[in-house]
Amino acid sequence: MTTPSTHLREDLDSVVIRFAGDSGDGMQLTGSQFTAATALMGNDLATFPDYPAEIRAPAGTTYGVSGFQIHFASIDIMTPGDAPDVLVAMNPAALKVNLDTLKRGGLCVVNTGAFTKGNLKKAGLEANPLEDGSLDPYRVLALDITKMTLEAVKEYGLGAKDGQRCKNMWTLGLMFWLFGRDRQPTVDWLKQKFKKKPVLADANIAALNAGHIYGESAEMPSGIGTYQVPRAELAPGRYRNIEGNQATAWGLVYGAKLAGLEVFYGSYPITPASSLLHHLAKLKHFGVTTFQAEDEIAAVCASVGASYGGQLGVTGTSGPGVALKAEAIGLAIGVELPLVVCDVQRGGPSTGMPTKTEQSDLLQAMWGRNGDAPLAVLAAATPGDCFYMAIEAVRIATKYMTPVILLTDGYLANGAEPWQIPDLSQFEPFPVNFRTDPEGFHPFVRDEDTLARAWAVPGTPELMHRIGGLEKHHDSGHISYDPNNHHKMTKVREAKIAGIQKDLPDAKVHLGEDSGELAVVGWGSTYGAIHQAVEQVRASGKRVSHVHLRHLSPFPPNLAALLSRFDEVMVPEMNNGMLDKVLRAEFGINAQGYNKISGQPFYIGELVAAIEARLAGKNPNQMYDAHGSAHGAEA
């Protein structure tokens, strides 16, 4: 991570930019366009959209600030970066909220046009930071972007409101100039977007160009010049950007195709899972049925009903919705039907912080049901990995006739990464064999190997049967209150899930040796941050390894043995300590958590400090709890 220094430097390895403005300032759009242009330049990149819970909070307030952070580099990167090198602040509130995170010496681009008395007050600022020395530690590019934008678009005769809306494109033009990105894709996109209102397209393009021209022609303050981030060395192939929910949706559809099934997606909108529904609703021609149910309970029940009908029942939601689905998931466990439950986690407890990310549904996924109710739990590591893990969820659900919970989170769901489009021929189909043979059939006859029961779909002649949530006789499938039978069936349900382990790849040591002083064990979206932190610590010669889990129930076959070869196990999580509990419960090993519960992804710097503290025999949590994250970030 190299910081743009006070001297003009052409080549940078890696840059982190944070666009911040009012909810109405179009920062998410600006960010995505910058991302697209950057991807085309061949950089590796990672992004982090961070927006308020309000749809459109009142202009100018701090809680209405919307941010988009992008990290791009010529090297392999895995996180949207810790502290930004560049902050674009479209108004005082955006500056106030984000300035703290900007690196010392970093570049701060400010729209002075928005620094009116009214806006300062709305942001709760007593003094004007442009004047009170707050910006002294940074390089500042203070421009009246509002005025220059209005100037640039005036010939199109837009009202002041529409004219002002082009500010973000002006800014984007300037940033394109600064980092040498191509404007054309954005021009094309604007034309497409405003197909029906060409004047808006023209005005926005004019603003975009004006920003660029401003950079080309204006006298820049000393220390600010143009930069270049060379292409990253990525594996050759075709790439696209992908967001987690999109990848999950595609993985479900493709997984179902591999299973030879159609997808039934029953869901009820909830942040940050809603876009799963939106993506799937667009794929009806892929054999997808989407059902927007009246609530989460109906959603999961309809999906189980669909699985009984021979489709792949899938339901998606976030934490509060998973809580509501618990009873019905228990039924799916009892009747042993396939079901995929996508849990896009967010900050809890209760409504919590709906637009913020967290990993705090792990224990709920494992154990949040009445009775002994085991199921499979998976977790995706990156936005693109959601595709692969969704396929894996379908595979396990159909092969073992079981519900599978796939954990992702808000950060994966909305975060984008460049993704190598997979070669579809690499995937082995795993077709479902519906039972049609009446010979020896009863609903709970099992495959000897997988212990999966037979899947007989209504409509099939001679296989008529009844299933339900009451305990069933292991042999006839009829209701049974026989004590020994219940014991036996509980053990079979456990054995079936445990048996999936035979079918899983070993846990991988992503970095380092398979034994040593410290194993840093992660799961889910912390993959990138942990990886890079471990890499940094290893660079100083420490015997630290990185193990990342994508299968959480059951765990990979080698996990117990692997972890036992380390002196200590550290589990960083964006929750108050869950996987560490599970590891202790399962393996009796002394796993210790490092926990950040701030609704924000880990910074690499934090993790480096934490790992080093752990190696020095200290408890990194105490450090964290005392100082909090935003401030520890520069470490």
Partner: protein, 333 residues
């Protein structure tokens, strides 16, 4: 589905012993269903019975068809998913007044407004049978039960009125031991959309005899108003009573025929009129039976399928490669 002359009532009975209390009205309803299915040409393998939890919801176990005994209150949701996934089968939903109107009221509401093509039989015994006799949302005010030792203070739901308010397109009522129950069920089966049938059901153990006046052979005729589309509303043992609309009070009234009043003065049943059905839903002293309301309209599962076809027409053969390559892509070499 064509008439299947080979199947009889017995073919629809499973090998499981029926486990309701002796004298329970559920037996008669089971018999009516088992009589009706062969009559309408249903097949064993293309019939699915989906229920919630309650005495009534044990129903699927006693049928030799496919069946799914789900969880409390949620049968409409399971049934909706099933019908969407497996449109070729006939889906019958069995629920109770607790299952369907207490915990499951919301799913029922949404099933009814969506008009999924299936039948729903709500066994109304005005009590929670399976949990041993607490009052239910259809219990009358004052009902003394273990959970209301001084009498229930809850105003009851009128199932049929609720269904009409929810936008149901087929609303009917029958009772357990009625000879005409089969006909009502058949009508619900023939209807394209959600056929909602409330069935008054006696629970001899926890709520014995609450419908006795209505269902008793002797007293019944004076309380049973069997509706027929296009026919004046006549009832009574000797067809000596009728129903008239009083515009001044904007309500229905029961009149004695003979004297001044003739059939011509009576209201003619129009099963396509929701308001009329609403009036009939909750008449004092008389119980409207048969088909109260029937309105053809878009069927949810068909609309969903049509839309899928539309998408297929619009977007063509699904091409997963192409999907992944849509939008901005770039090549690294």
């Amino acid at each position: 589905m064509t008439e299947n002359p080979k199947l009889t009532r017995k073919d629809f009975a499973s090998d499981q012993e029926v486990r309701w209390c002796p004298g329970c009205g559920d037996y008669a309803i089971l018999a009516a269903v088992q009589r009706t299915l062969p009559k309408v040409g249903a097949s064993l393998e293309k019939t699915v019975v989906i229920s919630g939890i309650g005495c009534s919801s044990r129903f699927p176990y006693y049928m030799s068809t496919y069946g799914f005994h789900t969880i409390h209150g949620r049968a409409p949701a399971f049934a909706t998913g099933h019908k969407l996934a497996n449109p070729e089968v006939d889906v019958w939903v069995v629920t109770g007044d607790g299952d369907g109107l207490s915990i499951g009221g919301n799913h029922l509401l949404h099933l009814l407004r969506r008009n999924v093509n299936l039948q729903i039989m709500l066994f109304n015994n005005q009590i929670y049978g399976l949990t041993k006799g607490q009052y239910s949302p259809t219990s009358t005010v004052g009902k003394v039960t273990p959970s209301s030792p001084l009498g229930s203070v809850d105003q009851p739901v009128v199932p049929v009125r609720f269904a009409l308010g929810a936008g149901a397109k087929f609303v009917a009522r029958g009772y357990d031991v009625s000879k005409k129950l089969g006909d009502v069920l058949e009508a619900s089966y023939r209807f394209q959309g959600t056929g909602f049938v409330e069935i008054l059901q006696n629970c001899p153990v926890f709520n014995d005899g609450i419908f006795e006046l209505i269902t008793d052979r002797k007293t019944g005729p004076a309380y049973q108003l069997w509706l027929e589309h296009g026919k004046p509303m006549v009832f009574g043992k000797n067809s000596d009573k009728g129903v008239r609309f009083n515009q001044a009070t904007f309500s229905l009234e029961v009149v004695d025929l003979g004297g001044d009043i003739t059939e011509a003065d009576l209201l003619v049943h129009d099963e396509t009129n929701r308001t009329l059905a609403f009036l009939l839903a909750d008449m004092p002293n008389v119980v409207a039976l048969g088909v109260l309301f029937r309105e053809e309209g878009p069927v949810y599962d068909e609309s969903v399928r049509t839309q899928r076809k539309l998408a297929e027409d619009k977007f063509g053969t699904p091409d997963f490669e192409a999907l992944m390559r849509s939008g901005h892509t770039w090549t690294v070499s």
